[in-house]
């Protein structure tokens, strides 16, 4: 019931944006900014590029306001745009070019994250290694599997929503998720008890 109210509210805000209310756009941005950027960051694994792509996503949302129709959940529509932007970025080969700078940047990010906790040097090293392993395991997934897993795990989207966002069938999504988690289990299952 709560979810339905939220969906209606987002769609209502977008309809107000369509009528020229820029304040409603600011509200939508405030609510969905972080989830979109985090999704793109985990897809591309480069914070600067993720923010650039997120701007592209919200720019497209704003430009599409005139033709917006609330036929699907707002988040589904939003993540369809975000997935398109991310998959196009990867397909165009820009993703590979970013990989060299990615390692350095991600290590810095990891250090920032870990340093915030009060851990011993040894604990920090273990966490860094674990974090790097998770990041690499996800990075090696095919792009569409990666998108499906990230939407399933971090956005808690249902199969139908992921299917709509990736423009495929629900059974295709289940297959994508099953194969992706199979790969991740093979690579990460040894971590049991490490945390």
């Amino acid at each position: 019931m709560m979810a339905v109210a939220t969906i209606e509210h987002d769609a209502e805000l977008m309809l107000r944006v369509r009528e020229g209310d820029s304040q409603s756009f600011a509200l939508l941005l405030a609510k969905h900014r972080s989830p979109v950027i985090h999704f793109l960051y985990r897809m591309i694994q480069n914070q600067a590029v993720a923010e650039e792509l997120a701007q592209e996503v919200f720019l497209r949302v704003y430009k599409s306001r005139a033709s917006y129709e609330p036929t699907a959940k707002f988040t589904t529509w939003l993540f369809r745009i975000a997935s398109h932007v991310a998959l196009n970025h990867i397909r165009d080969g820009k993703y590979e070019r970013n990989q060299e700078s990615l390692d350095q940047e991600s290590d810095e990010g990891m250090s920032r994250q870990v340093a915030s906790d009060a851990l011993t040097v040894e604990q920090m090293m273990v966490r860094e290694a674990k974090f790097g392993e998770i990041r690499r395991a996800i990075q090696l997934l095919p792009a569409k599997q990666r998108a499906a897993v990230l939407m399933h795990k971090y956005q808690e989207m249902e199969y139908a929503q992921i299917a709509a966002a990736l423009e495929c069938s629900e059974s295709a999504v289940k297959s994508l998720l099953f194969r992706a988690y199979e790969t991740l289990r093979a690579k990460l299952a040894h971590m049991a008890g490490h945390s």
């Binding site: 600011a26 941005l29 900014r33 972080s34 950027i37 985090h38 960051y41 985990r42 914070q47 923010e51 997120a54 701007q55 919200f58 720019l59 704003y62 430009k63 990010g109 920032r112 994250q113 966490r127 674990k130 974090f131 392993e133 998770i134 990041r135 996800i138 399933h152 795990k153 971090y154 808690e156 199969y159 289940k174 998720l177 099953f178 988690y181 991740l184 289990r185 990460l188 299952a189 971590m191 049991a192 945390s195």
Partner: protein, 168 residues
Amino acid sequence: MNPKNVNCPMQSGNAEILLSYCARSLEPEQVAQIELHLSACAECRAWATEQKTVWAAMDAWEAEPVSADFDAALFARIAAAEKPSAWERWSAPWREILRGGMGWRPVLSAGVVALTLVIALSIENPFRREPVGQTVKLEAQEIEQAERALEDLEMLRQLEPPEEETSL
């Protein structure tokens, strides 16, 4: 009934229910049913344990904080994108006329007439061949002058006395 044999997700090709169980997105009755099965099925239990490990490992991957100037940069991009191009600025009054109360038929008719004139003039030009016509005219004048000169010479010759008579 043996819980091991009841609706084994792995055997019945319904592993997604195990995935949903590990993602904690099942209803309480379904959770109870799956846990009953897991207590008896080592294969599903091992699968679920591995999946929970992956799930927990992924939880550890926190995203980075968003830049403070993200919104400002976005609104600047929106403002730039919304700014009309030179063509849009130039064509705006014309589009307004076409869209407006004047009606588009008279404007369109005038436009068609103007376009026809422009095309007619541009087609006319190549056939006029102004320089070539002038050359032909000049050549004709030169021939005419030469003919006149010959006629004048002939007339002078006729006026002159015969050469023999002069010498005598």
